[in-house]
């Protein structure tokens, strides 16, 4: 079985992103693989380990620096990787989806796993776009996955658990709770260097200009929160009600 894992290399969840002149300032920010994608990679590794055969192939679109993120997943145990190297970060998920779908077509995986969203822009679109371009089904926000001959049973957890059955290949978007991602091992780190990473470019794929329909034009820091107000004693109740109505406009 061949499982593709799509990963995004994002500013770390603890990174503080600044905005200057309407642009994101990521200088000095630590990057790591988006945690949702780590669930995807872990699930892929577990499936292959249980089967005892097959391979896990990591896919990424983005600049050269993303090689570090790819290597982290190879160190965790993925077998090889395909890196579509771009000059700058691809912020349009439609375009990222197009590029990934083109690379995936060549590999023909039996299953595609990805985080249901990236922790950077929180869009949750790329995986869906990949499925669309490949003409295969997708299920997002999956917290339990069971495979049986050519099918995947995916559980989506909300107030009521939904179980959705899809035919493979399909794109499954993984959510927190699916598994507990492992740390790479020291051996894994040492081996990762020798694992094959195929690099390609949008030009080689023939998609130098994708179907980009939305672009980020401006970023702004949210206004800093005003200090809270404190009211004490029952005698302030009337004042609180008045402010809730007139200032906060919540009642």
């Amino acid at each position: 079985m061949k499982i593709a894992v799509l990963i995004k290399y994002c500013p770390d969840s603890e990174a503080v992103i600044k905005v200057s002149d309407g642009k994101l300032d990521t200088s000095g920010v630590k990057y790591s693989v988006s945690p949702y994608d780590e669930y995807a990679c872990e699930e892929a590794l577990k499936i292959i380990e249980a089967k005892g055969e097959g391979e896990v192939v990591v896919f990424n679109v983005g600049p050269q620096k993303n090689a570090k993120g790819i290597k982290d997943e190879l160190a965790r145990g993925a077998d090889r990787a395909v890196h579509i190297v771009t000059d700058a970060e691809v912020t349009c998920p439609r375009y990222a989806g197009e590029l990934l779908a083109a690379a995936l077509k060549e590999e023909n995986p039996d299953l595609i796993l990805c985080g249901w969203k990236g922790i950077d822009y929180d869009l949750g679109v790329t995986g869906i776009k990949v499925a669309e371009y490949l003409g295969i089904p997708h299920v997002m926000i999956v917290t339990k996955l069971e495979l049986s001959d050519g099918k995947a049973n995916c559980t989506r957890q909300s107030d009521i658990d939904e179980v959705i059955e899809v035919a493979l290949p399909a794109v499954i978007g993984t959510q927190k709770g699916l598994n507990e991602p492992r740390y790479p091992s020291l051996k894994g780190i040492m081996k990762a260097k020798k694992k094959p990473v195929k690099t390609t470019t949008p030009a080689e794929i023939g998609l130098e200009r994708g179907d980009v329909r939305a672009e980020y034009t401006d970023f702004a820091q949210p206004p800093s929160k005003q200090a809270g107000k404190k009211f004490e004693g029952p005698e302030s109740a009337a004042e609180v009600v008045k402010l809730l109505r007139e200032e906060a406009k919540v009642i």
């Binding site: 740390y183 020291l186 051996k187 780190i189």
Partner: protein, 384 residues
């Protein structure tokens, strides 16, 4: 001398840092408070490959060498000093098998020791022979097909949790140093009793016990190395162990500084964070300088130990002692200063630094007290 790490080593130390921050540090207080060995932490080190850093790949090791190893001991210790100490003692004991063991001993034990399925303890000290370890009295009498052990060992870290002991005993006290011999013994061998746990000042997450051997029969193949050459095994193990303790103490010091540094930026007195007082800044500066100096000393010793390889004549006895002595003396001082900076909160058991301070004291005592380290350093100086 070049201590710079390869890209590989850097990534590995990064990973150990991450494990220390995310997995070990949050549980440090809980483990020490519960006075319980943390199998979770030990297995975590095994799974990551950290227990195998000094061992060849053929036995399941990762063969990364002393420099990356000692930096990892520091990181693990910064996360949880008990686990860091266990990592050091376990590695030092297992190394004795690698260096002095037969192929059969290596094949039987090393793999299990690397994965964390097997824990090892270092069984040298006795109630009446601590610094003067060469005077030990535990007897290994030669009998048909093996040896019969009688005697008592004291202060053995992880004795109650370990599966395997590396034990020093004498074939006959009359032989003096020439009688001292090393053995590899499974804990569940008949005739071994792990006696009650010693209540201690600190480091409660690593139990310390006496071990009593009573007519304990062990077969010939428990012999490690040659009869009468046990002191060599002990000295070689201990020079590695001292690098480990130096790294352990440096990790503890770093944790104490990290805690005090963060606190000093938050605690406001006289309307300013206390880190704005020069008196506090100087403490922080000295703490950091001492830590850095200790780190350089153990890295130098690690570099030399790696270089020495199997050549016992090149064993960096002096450098290992200097690192151990300086890093552990610094550790008590740094921890005490951390408590001072944090005032009553530092003294409180709710915060981790008093625990670090209590533990730091023992780093000056075990694996050769710092007086003994100074003796060793002076002896090397006065040689020739």
């Amino acid at each position: 001398m070049d201590f710079s790490l390869s890209e590989n080593e850097l990534e590995i130390v990064e990973l150990v840092k991450e494990i220390a921050d995310n997995e070990l540090a949050p549980r440090m207080v809980e483990i020490d408070e519960a006075s319980r060995f943390s199998w979770d932490n030990f297995k975590l080190l095994g799974n990551a490959g950290i227990l195998g850093m000094l061992f060849p790949e053929k036995y399941g090791g990762t063969d990364l060498g002393y420099l990356a190893y000692s930096l990892s001991v520091e990181e693990v210790s910064r996360g949880d000093f008990n686990t860091g100490l266990t990592l050091s003692v376990h590695s030092m004991s297992a190394l004795a098998i690698l260096k002095f063991g037969t192929d059969k001993q290596k094949e039987t034990y090393l793999q299990r020791l690397m994965t964390g399925d097997y824990l090892m303890a270092f069984v040298l000290s006795e109630p009446d022979f601590g610094s003067d370890a060469a005077g030990l009295q535990c007897r290994a009498e030669k009998v048909d097909g093996g040896y019969k052990l009688n005697g008592t060992k004291a202060w053995i870290s992880n004795a109650e949790d370990a599966h395997l002991f590396v034990v020093w005993a004498t074939l006959d006290p009359k032989l003096g140093k020439k009688g001292i011999t090393t053995f590899i013994i499974e804990k569940d061998t008949e005739g071994i009793e792990v006696a009650k746990k010693e209540p201690k000042m600190g480091g409660e997450g690593t139990a310390t016990n006496q071990i009593i051997f009573t007519d304990c029969f062990i077969p010939d193949d428990c012999l490690l190395g040659e009869e009468g050459r046990g002191l060599r095994v002990a000295l070689n193990s201990l020079s590695g162990g001292r690098i480990g303790v130096a790294a352990n103490a440096t990790g503890v010091s770093q944790r104490a500084l990290d805690e005090a540094l963060a606190y000093s930026q938050e605690r406001v007195q006289f309307d300013v964070p206390i880190c704005e007082f020069q008196g506090i800044q100087w403490k922080l500066a000295d703490m950091d300088t001492m830590i850095e100096a200790g780190r350089l000393l153990y890295q130098k010793a690690a570099y030399l130990k790696q270089y020495a390889g199997n050549d016992l004549d090149l064993d960096p006895i002096k450098e290992a002692s200097q690192a151990k002595c300086f890093a552990t003396d610094s550790c008590l001082h740094v921890c005490s200063e951390a408590v001072q900076i944090m005032g009553a909160y530092g003294y409180s058991r709710e915060y981790p630094v008093e625990r670090l301070m209590r533990y730091s004291k023992v780093t000056q005592i075990f694996e050769g007290s710092n007086e003994i380290q100074r003796n060793l350093i002076a002896r090397e100086l006065l040689k020739d």
